[in-house]
């Protein structure tokens, strides 16, 4: 009797598993339209205009991949997403989306509203790259001309993945952005994308950063300012510093960079010490310079240090002007001195512009770069 009861219990438990299979279902791959890129603009008659780039596969043995871009309007994003089915026939499949492009109009209203679909939906990944289109519609980016590629979203995806080489923009994913939007101690930064005219074609060009405050786009900074920001955030892995020495351009290739941030709260005065230690190699010079002269090297180091400090101060001033802490200094202060920070916070709003930032930069030129290549 016990065994019968037991086996019935086990059978019931097993049959319960079948009801817990969540919302996925049997679907054939060729019945899916693979979405690789999405662009969100303001609609004319509805709230949003969603533009998607779909993979178009032809051929059986010789696979021929191309992409097609189409737009549709909807009151909400999911509304628009579902409407695609009635155009294409096949179901749009969002799990392989590479990049989301948000137009600056929508970003300056409220970014979190459009992010909801990409973060909450079961099908979309949360590590999708997000970029903000600048000075053009997001949909135009997906319609840009292609160079040596056949899918726009894939091109953008690769550029973002290689961002470390240039250090003029920093990748951001929907997940990290939506997470950072929830804190008030750090401003969200998202790379900006624009169209770059090339002969009679238009290429996509990622450069610079969009800065957000309270879910709203507040300012843009350009590529070189972004690089300075990355110096302050200790996110530099590679890149170049162009400095002038006796009216000659000298390019320093960054080999390694360590930025240490020390925080201090004395008598309600918050101070952040930034110690930048950069190792670089001379990579490109306009005319012959005697690298064997240690004094010349020292001079170049000095010059580049001054240049870096100046640019950092410039960016910090700009950030202070907009009241956006894109460097995460406030977060750092809170982490290091939670009690004191809360006291100040209780007195009133912690303003980024009230934080003192001391910068000291050390540039060390390790070699002439003639033997060091990337």
């Amino acid at each position: 009797m016990m065994t019968i009861k037991k086996s019935i219990t086990v059978l019931l438990l097993i049959s319960m598993i079948f009801t817990l299979t969540s919302c996925w279902n049997y679907k054939e791959v060729n019945q899916l339209n693979i979405v690789v890129g999405a662009a969100i603009d303001k609609g004319e008659s509805n709230n949003y205009m969603l533009t998607v780039e779909l993979i178009h596969v032809k051929g059986n043995a010789d696979v021929n991949v191309s992409s097609e871009v189409m737009s549709i309007e909807g009151d909400t994003l999911l509304d628009a997403v579902r409407r695609f089915n009635s155009i294409t026939g096949k179901r749009a499949y969002w799990a392989h989306i590479r990049v989301v492009i948000v137009c600056e109009d929508i970003a300056s209203e409220d970014l979190s509203r459009v992010l909801g679909f990409f973060v909450e939906d079961a099908e979309t990944r949360s590590d999708v790259f997000i970029v903000i289109s600048r000075e053009c519609k997001a949909k135009d980016i997906l319609n840009a001309d292609l160079f040596m590629e056949n899918v726009v979203a894939e091109t953008i995806n690769r550029s973002l993945k290689n961002s470390k080489v240039l250090s003029e923009f920093q990748q951001a994913s929907t997940f990290s952005v939506s997470k950072e939007l929830k804190t008030n101690k750090k401003s969200v930064t998202i790379p900006t994308i624009s169209l770059l005219p090339m002969d009679d074609k238009k290429a996509t060009f990622i450069n610079g950063t969009a800065i957000f405050k309270d879910n709203k786009l507040t300012a843009f900074i350009d590529g070189s300012e972004t690089k300075t920001m990355l110096f302050l955030k200790n996110d530099i892995e590679s890149g170049v510093i162009v400095t002038k020495y006796n009216d000659r351009n000298i390019t320093l290739e960054i080999l390694d960079n360590t930025t240490r941030i020390k925080t201090r709260i004395d008598n309600d005065v918050m101070t952040v010490n930034v110690l930048v230690d950069t190792q670089a190699a001379i990579n490109e010079v306009e005319r012959d310079i005697d690298f064997s002269d240690i004094d010349i090297i020292k001079d170049i180091e000095k010059l580049s240090e001054i240049q870096l400090v100046e640019s950092m101060e410039g960016v910090i001033d700009k950030a202070k002007h907009y009241g956006t802490d894109i460097f995460g200094f406030t977060q750092k202060l809170y982490e290091n001195h939670p009690k004191k920070f809360r006291q100040i916070e209780n007195l009133g709003e912690v303003e980024f512009r009230n934080i003192n930032v001391d910068i000291s930069v050390k540039v060390r030129i390790l070699n002439s770069g003639e033997v060091s290549k990337l």
């Binding site: 996925w24 791959v29 799990a95 392989h96």
Partner: protein
Amino acid sequence: MVIIVEKNTKKHIFKKAKSFEGKTKDEKNTNNSGKLTKSLNRNITIFQSSFSNDDTVIFRKFQNQYSDKIKCCIIIIEGMTDIEHINRRVIEPLQNQVFQRPKSSVNLVDEVQNKVLPVNDVRQSTRLNEMIKAVCYGDTVLLLDGCDVALIISSRGWESRPISEPESGKVVRGPREGFTESIIKNVSLIRRKIKNPNLKFKLMELGKQTHTAICITYIEGIALDSILTELEQRLNRIDIDGILDSGYVQELIQDEPLSPFPTVGSSERPDVVVAKMLEGRVAIIVDGSPFVLTVPHILVESIQINEDYYNHFLFGSFNRFLRAASAIATISIPAVYLAIVTYHQEMIPTQLLISISASLEGVPLPTSLSLIIMMLIFDILREAGTRMPTAIGQAVNIVGTLVLGQAAVDAHLVSSPVIIVTAISGITTFMHPTMIESVVILRLVLIIAASFLGIYGYLIGVILILLHLLSIRSFGVPYMMGLTRLEEHDGQDSWIRAPWWSMTLRPKIIGARNQIRQTSRHNR
């Protein structure tokens, strides 16, 4: 093929088989009193009525040339008997030697047995049943006129296959001899490897009609008594009419009759069987079958190949790893592919998804159905290929590769990834031939599970299989022994093959009676 005739040298091992009682009940319906008379002609009639309608039984009457009073008759069956031996050693001395008929009839039998017949294995018998049985086995019954006692002369000899390399389990390095259909040869093959009085052979007889000889062999002092007694009990319980191959015995004595996994091992190679006996296993030789059974049989033996032990241990371990990996791959790859492609497309890298999507363009069948059909076709080809003569087998191969590999893809009947998956799963099947039986079934079960529930279904299937594997035993030995724990000496001969100098202990439980295999390093 060379045909050799077995000489009647070591026939004594069969005598024991005859003392095995209880299996001969149905012989009682022969219409005789069970006793011989003193008249030769009457006796011949009795035998003729027993062997009525059997024209292969030869009754040869003759007499001594010096004494007319000595009349004899031998009864033999053509084809079962070494005729040359009987002619030279029985008929010739009886015809040509001068010997006197003693006064009493019983003494004549003694006289013939002791002085006339130059044969090593002769015995007297008065029981008719015993004599009839002896004739059936190929022995010769010698009837003498005036005697109610007959002589049974061992004369078995029939044509059998010579020892050759087995078709299964080919090796590059290692002994090439294989068992044959003859139990005597098989016994001698084992005896030649273990020259030791501790090697024991126990004979019995199975099959109410076939009277097939069965030999249990083990090494005393290593094999566990509990396994031995359990095996004997199970063999005694068998009450089948015929045993034509060791497969009958295997299925009748195995632990989990419904399990797809074999709990009794079989091998065609003496070195494999002897290696298992040295670990403490018991072997069962069945007359007429070149496959010798070994018990207990655990899962890890499916990935152990004799060549592992003859090659360098690193190479052996690598091969064993490949075998273990392919055992998992062969049942998993089709199911996992199906699950990912039809349920979890987000798991596929985009590039791969695109090419899979392209290959599915214009294919009418759903992936699950086409995969099941391709797996079935592969199994059909495999089965057809095994039964075909070599010449036709090539035609099957060509049809298989061309029609299924190329044409089916070109005709958009199946997608090319499905063909690739089928091929990988099919090839990995052959990495462990002893598991084919279980793999073919489990693979289909997992495919069906995956087609309903995706990865989820596959995992449910795998969990159930693992639970089953962990729950079954072979002759009291856990089936997963050696695979679940990696303590010292436990994992030495499972996932890897440790070097011989480090394998100082026999496997646990199976070799529990005498754990130490070698002492050299163990004592250090």
